[in-house]
């Protein structure tokens, strides 16, 4: 069922995350209840006396996958975007010598929250140490926030437009929304859409520490990210990328593509309330959810599963659960994949949208890890302990970002 004139389907996907170097291994690890969180590896942990020593770092280094000369021209967040995009491109059957989609009908929407922070820091060190001559001529293209989208567009030869939504932790989901619009507007037949982030470094960790948003459970990393649990104390910073191949259904069927799911609708709103804190009334989040349901041509009661933004912060999780209940009712079964993945910032909405779609396709919802005592402020059913088998016709992913950005996307069964 679709309320929009153009049916938008998912024909391929790719990911590189703290749980695995590709989408299949990530999904398998999520269902197995594994955690991607550990003690942070990196020189900066010794250089600065940071109170947070844990993070969710990639399972597979992108430089193990990308050729050296190509990798050295890209920031780490661009590298992860390329790794996930290559996988998605091949998975959708778009690779090979014969082009399956005209470059002029192929668009890219890949968002990031921070962009090339690592490059900015490295090149600043070179400037300080050796002067302007030591600074790479690739500094700007490596640090710019449209970099991940741009390198994917170069890799695949996309010429119908390349876009880079930047809305902090909502960027990855907003990219899917933009892609949906491009397909609705007839601007492309295929859109490579998602998010990328790789900014685990001293300054970002310090900045999040000072905004009092990170978990400090250094002695027990795998139990640090615990959305909806009464003992949660903040999120765990992660890195990775997720890419979906979104396509006009008519085009996909004509080329005989495998269809994994349908992106049925989206809702984007803003709180206009506070730079980091969500509006405690949850009004902006609820409006995003209702808009997503409406563009999907559904009723709120049709949404039986919500893959939550829930980051494991004290204020955020309970507020989201209340906003879900207000917008959709008591029936949605919730899960919070950041309990296993950590918070992938600008990639979170894309990776977790992929998880949402796979939950519909495979009829199973991964458990929220570390949920020992459900916060009494949460009255909805949250999957914990074991993954739950359930038949899902329509599910939602929520992603919210610093700045008051709210993005909800709805997937339906094909």
């Amino acid at each position: 069922m679709t309320g929009a004139p153009v049916e938008v389907v998912v024909t391929g996907y790719g990911a590189t995350t703290p749980l695995g170097g590709d989408a299949a291994s990530t999904w398998e690890a999520l269902l197995a209840g594994k955690s991607g969180v550990g003690t942070t590896q990196g020189a900066f942990t010794e250089r600065f006396d940071l109170p947070v020593k844990i993070s969710a770092q990639l399972a597979v280094e992108p430089t193990d996958v990308i050729a050296r000369v190509q990798a050295r021209r890209m920031d780490r967040c661009e590298q992860v975007a390329v790794v996930a995009a290559r996988e998605a491109w091949a998975h959708a059957g778009l690779d090979g010598d014969e082009p399956k989609v005209e470059p002029e009908r192929l668009a890219v929407c890949v968002g990031t929250g921070i962009g090339g922070a690592v490059t900015l820091l490295d090149q600043d060190d070179l400037l300080e140490g050796g002067g302007v001559r030591k600074v790479s001529p690739l500094t700007v293209p490596m640090l710019m926030p449209n970099g991940p989208a741009a390198v994917v567009s170069l890799e695949l030869g996309a010429r119908a437009g390349t876009h880079a939504p930047v809305s902090a932790c909502a960027s990855g989901a907003e990219a899917l929304a933009w892609a949906y619009r491009l397909l609705q507007d007839g601007d492309a037949d295929v859109v490579i859409a998602g998010g990328a982030e790789a900014c685990i470094t001293g300054i970002t960790v310090a900045g999040f520490v000072q905004s009092r948003t990170l978990s400090q459970r250094n002695d027990d990393p795998e139990r640090a990210s615990r959305p909806f649990d009464t003992d949660r104390d903040g999120f765990v910073l992660g890195e990775g990328a997720g890419i979906l191949v979104l396509e006009r259904a008519e085009f996909a069927r004509a080329r005989g593509a495998t269809i994994h799911g349908r992106l049925a609708g989206y809702g984007l709103t803003s709180d206009g309330y506070h730079i980091t804190g969500p509006d405690p009334s949850g009004a902006g989040q609820s409006r995003a959810m209702l808009k997503a349901v409406k563009t999907a041509g559904l009723e709120p009661s049709d949404i039986t599963h919500v893959n939550c933004h829930a980051t494991s912060t004290v204020a955020g999780d309970v507020g989201e659960a209340a906003a879900v209940r207000k917008a959709l009712g008591d029936q949605p079964v919730l899960t919070a994949p950041k309990s296993a993945l950590g918070h992938l910032v600008g990639a979170a909405g894309a990776v977790e949208s992929l998880v949402t779609m796979l939950s519909i396709r495979d009829g199973i919802v991964p458990a929220t890890l570390n949920l020992e005592n459900l916060d009494p402020g949460v009255s909805l059913d949250v999957v914990r302990g074991e993954p739950r088998k359930m038949d899902i016709d329509a599910a939602m992913n929520n992603s919210f970002g610093f700045g008051g950005h709210n993005a909800s996307v709805v997937f339906t069964k094909v």
Binding site: A67, R68, V69, Q70, R133, K134, S136, P137, L138
Partner: protein, 80 residues
């Protein structure tokens, strides 16, 4: 002072590091742009590394004149 053969092999190492072209393919008659497919950004990196390695200065207007690997070797040999 490096001789022309040493300059060529040193330059070839830099080109391999920056652009991923096998050092053995970096011959005097090859054009950086047309034969080796090196873009203007990589040329800047190659020039900076060559300056450090051979103790020369390669101003931007001079860099634009160095069309082939042989041009670069000759320039470095004269100015080191």
């Amino acid at each position: 002072m490096a001789d022309n053969a040493e300059i060529l092999s040193g330059l070839a190492e830099i080109v391999e590091e920056v652009a991923g072209i096998d050092a053995g393919d970096v011959a005097a008659e090859k054009s950086f742009v047309d034969d080796l497919d090196i873009d203007s950004l990589s040329m800047v990196e190659i020039a900076v590394q060559a300056e450090d390695k051979f103790g020369v200065k390669i101003p931007d207007e001079q860099l634009a004149e160095l069309k082939t690997v042989g041009d670069a070797v000759d320039y470095i040999a004269k100015n080191q």
